[in-house]
Symmetry: C2
Subunit: 372 residues, 2 copies
């Protein structure tokens, strides 16, 4: 018998910058010229059909102008493109065009594009660098921070993927102007979630400035983009691999994901989260963590953001309960919810312990007696 110890202990620095601003296309290309990605000269731009003309093509043109080699790889817009098959197709197209280990990936679009492209970059040539140019509020608030990348499979969403940190993230606030309203609202749900779980100040700001944000007021948009980063960043920094603290980000999501699935994706993710935020607020009130007036404030803010706060009629409530209770997180017949405490805080039972056990009966009560 022989035994070997392979010693592989080392310091890894995956730190990166997030830049928030108006129209950052030139800045991105300048950063590359200034050595952001070292000596890399070949760029695979990954984008979707909606984002192509408005953001990807202009960045491509700027890169080519500077004599970089670049190609655009386009996926059909929408969640359905976030698959292993799309990933393989892009890989094959990149190989065909001679991309090897000496390239970098630039993801231009929303969360679908950055999840897919970030995952692809992580396995291409066993990992090439990537940067993200985020064009949706949802990507700005959520997908662009934390290093989670993934694709969906027929049996699970976001289960096949990697933790893979970008080299830099660009949050283009100007891109929110071309974003369809419903997508903007959906992204706002995650912003409201951040406010509910971590910042009364942000909550108050949103109450006062929703119209400004929705009419693309520069200062207001910058304010929420910064705040979103700060809140998610603080959580992610402390818990890069989801050991516990990240759990708080699930505020509104346990219920939200269930209703999203039962709606068969008629609800956008943020819309489902909005209803989930209402549900957890009702639960928090039942448990004594929120006052009636706090709950009303949350609902009013979601309404102001043009987000749903009621369970749509087409949802089969029994199916919803069933979906919740077949969830992997059910233990001893109890679901575990993150609950809000007042406005801007969550219920916490000790270090990294955020889960309140909720029985089927309690949920049933909320669904049947609190929602219309």
């Amino acid at each position: 018998m022989g035994k070997f110890k392979v010693e592989l202990k080392k310091v890894v620095d995956d730190s990166y910058d997030i830049l928030i601003g108006h129209n950052l296309k030139r800045t991105l290309v300048e950063d590359i010229s200034n050595g952001l990605l070292g000596k890399i000269k070949k760029f695979a731009i990954i984008t979707d059909t909606n984002v192509l003309d408005i953001y990807a093509q202009p960045i491509y043109d700027l890169l080519v102008e500077k004599n970089y080699k670049a190609d655009i790889f386009i996926v059909q817009a929408g969640e359905k493109s976030k698959t292993r098959e799309t990933k393989s197709k892009i890989e094959d197209a990149m190989l065909e065009k001679g991309y090897r280990r000496d390239c970098a990936v630039i993801a231009i679009g929303g969360g679908v594009v950055s999840d897919l492209a970030g995952f692809l970059a992580g396995t291409y040539g066993r990992g090439v660098p990537f940067i993200t140019y985020a064009t949706t509020l949802l990507a700005a608030a959520d997908a662009s921070i934390g290093g989670k990348t993934a694709v969906d499979t027929p049996l699970a969403t976001n289960l096949i993927g990697l933790f893979n940190q970008p080299k830099k993230v660009y949050i283009d606030l100007e891109a929110w102007k071309t974003l369809p309203d419903r997508q903007m609202y959906s992204g706002m749900a995650e912003t409201i979630k951040h406010a509910c779980m971590a910042s009364k100040e942000l909550f108050d700001f949103l109450q006062k400035n929703m119209e400004k944000i929705y009419s693309n007021d520069i200062t207001a948009c910058e304010y929420i983009a910064n705040y979103n980063c700060e809140i998610k960043y603080k959580v992610v920094m402390k818990d890069e691999r989801e050991s516990g603290l990240r759990e708080v980000l699930n505020l509104g999501h346990t219920f939200g994901r269930a209703i999203e699935t039962v709606s068969d994706y008629r609800l956008l993710h943020g819309e489902a989260v909005a209803i989930g935020l209402v549900a957890q607020a009702y639960l928090a009130k039942e448990k004594g963590y929120m006052t009636e007036s706090d709950v009303k404030k949350v609902i009013a803010l979601l309404k102001k953001a043009n987000l749903p706060t009621e369970i749509p009629e087409y949802i089969d409530r029994e199916k919803l309960i069933e979906k919740l209770y077949t969830d992997k997180k059910v233990r001893d017949g109890k679901l575990r919810f993150v609950l809000e405490k007042g406005i801007g805080d969550v219920v916490c039972f000790g270090e990294n312990l955020y889960a309140t056990p909720i029985s089927e009966e309690e949920i049933r009560n909320i669904i049947n007696n609190y929602f219309e």
Copy 2:
């Protein structure tokens, strides 16, 4: 404009043990009981059709005996299984059987299985732990150390994958008994490569003990298994991500890979490497790094190991040259070869500089005047 620095600097410890011994099936399961993988209780065993009955089924039985949940996922034996499609199929089968993030992967087989399973483990649920039970000499000598995992695509071998370190590697020397002779010889080529590049002592040992190894003498097999680990380990430890030093492991491989491809995989990888070792020795002699007698010793050892030392007749030599010179490593019309210096050392031009430029003319000379 706002700017955020996401700070993600941390110490990562990917160290792991390699255990070399005779029949380590029980040891593996005991290690798991003793907490090698923490509290994990669900194991996805990945294996191939040849290895299933002899090694995977017995390990499965031992796990089930200890009340672990386990399932065997079987791929068709052979390089053709190392694809994204096979990976997807296993992922779907695992999802179907309820595997989520709380499982571990056990790869049982040769390099094909460990490359595929190690990659799969790295992206399943954004990464679950895996261990490798290596049943071929090639896996023992090469594939099990270094953390490289990958699959092949129609346009490139081993290009889509990850650096992903196992939690432990088991090298079962008894498994070499059931290994087909040709596979054993093929694995020996990598062992001889290690000797040529790094150890006169190992070289001498192989000269004296080849018959013993091939008749499964315990001490001799243990000796080479240990030596292989030591040599590859030393290189890998210093250069986990292939910045330079790992280059030395390419001894015999530049020529080897080209002839492997041109043979349309009639040559096994190790057989191709054997011919590549001869080619580099001829080049080294031409350049004055090896004596005629050293070259003869290398050839004699390869012959003793039942490995080819001549270019097979069916190989189109012009195609071979063409293949070499379309290689990605060609710079200014010159290929870059790692060359042996005497026996047990390589030519080195400074820290991490191992590449000797070789012109097409020089290769042509070797192919036409040195080989039969």
